[in-house]
């Protein structure tokens, strides 16, 4: 590792807040763009299944 300690990695000689803000935001936005459509799809399948059951009954 280039840094000698975790706290040095965190502070990055004063640039830590900028660097970690960039990576934190990326984690949130990229994570959301995967999770949101995955959940929407599961919801759609549940609805299709429920409708099919109600027709069969």
């Amino acid at each position: 590792m280039y840094f000698t300690s975790i706290s040095e990695l965190w502070h990055m000689a004063g640039h830590g807040s900028y660097v970690w803000a960039a990576y934190g935001a990326s984690l949130i936005v990229l994570g959301a763009s995967l999770l949101m459509p995955a959940r929407a799809y599961r919801r759609q399948l549940r609805m299709i299944k429920a409708q099919s059951n109600s027709i069969d009954d």
């Binding site: 590792m1 280039y2 840094f3 990695l9 990055m12 000689a13 004063g14 640039h15 830590g16 900028y18 660097v19 803000a21 960039a22 990576y23 935001a25 990326s26 936005v29 990229l30 959301a32 763009s33 995967l34 459509p37 995955a38 929407a40 799809y41 759609q44 399948l45 549940r46 609805m47 299709i48 299944k49 099919s52």
Partner: protein, 249 residues
């Protein structure tokens, strides 16, 4: 005789749904592996820039998101063209699938650029800068296309309008590329070149060679997930999807 079977298959939502489900885990896992390696490498195992210090580490997410924001727009415009010319349902689905993912990636490109700009240029945002402004226009194009889809009473009208705007918006792409050369800009010009020697140090470049394909694959995974939502919506009354939904649970 040319074999056009693949083109017809591509037009089948059922075939596409199955193909997405087969490929998705591989694309997703490759994206996560590449991004984990590239980000850890770039954050902790490269030396700081001699001028910018540690703020330059933002490059490993900023450049990939900006590159993919542009590439995504190309893909969306091609889908728009196919949707207009051949009235292919799947192309319209692709247009609808790419727009939100493209908007999210462009927003990240803008945000990571802003937090890099502050310690480097002394400002989060500079309105006079053509690169920044043209990227903001790209973000609004993505948003506009998302909004147009829902702005029409009938689905077809929304699809056509969105496809036309996607095509018209491609004029912005060369402007973004050339903005740093055409106008005086705070934004630096490209330091990774394909036709001549790159002006970035090799050890700083290697993690970027990992995170760029990583973000491309992540973008692909997100578009595949969105595509599945589009297919499930348009095929919600079809027998094959009903069977799939029942067997899956």
């Amino acid at each position: 005789m040319a074999n056009w079977q693949w083109f017809h298959r591509l037009g089948s939502p059922k075939w596409l749904h199955g193909t997405i489900n087969r490929w998705l885990p591989w694309v997703l896992v490759s994206a996560l592996v590449l991004l984990s390696i590239g980000v850890v490498w770039g954050l902790a195992f490269t030396p700081p820039d001699y001028k910018q210090g540690n703020s330059f580490r933002i490059i490993y997410i900023h450049v990939p998101t900006a590159v993919v924001a542009l590439a995504g727009y190309y893909a969306m415009a091609i889908a728009g063209a196919v949707s207009i010319i051949w009235r292919m349902k799947v192309a319209d689905m692709a247009l609808r699938a790419i727009a939100p993912v493209g908007a999210a990636i462009t927003l990240l490109g803008l945000f990571t650029g802003a937090v890099w700009g502050k310690p480097t240029w002394g400002a989060y945002w500079v309105w006079e800068d053509a690169r920044l402004t043209s990227m903001l226009v790209l973000f609004f194009l993505y948003l506009g296309i998302m909004a147009l889809h829902d702005a029409f009473q009938n689905r077809q009208g929304g699809s056509r309008a969105a496809a036309i705007i996607a095509l018209v918006g491609t004029v912005n792409i060369p402007i973004i590329y050339k903005s740093v050369d055409w106008w005086s800009s705070l934004h630096q010009s490209a330091s990774i070149k394909f036709t001549e020697e790159s002006t970035i140090a090799a050890e700083m470049m290697y993690p970027l060679m990992v995170t760029i394909p990583g973000v491309y694959l992540l973008f692909a995974a997100a578009v595949m997930l969105q595509m599945r939502v589009q297919i499930a919506h348009s095929e919600r009354h079809s027998r094959w999807l009903e069977k799939y939904a029942i067997n899956r649970a």
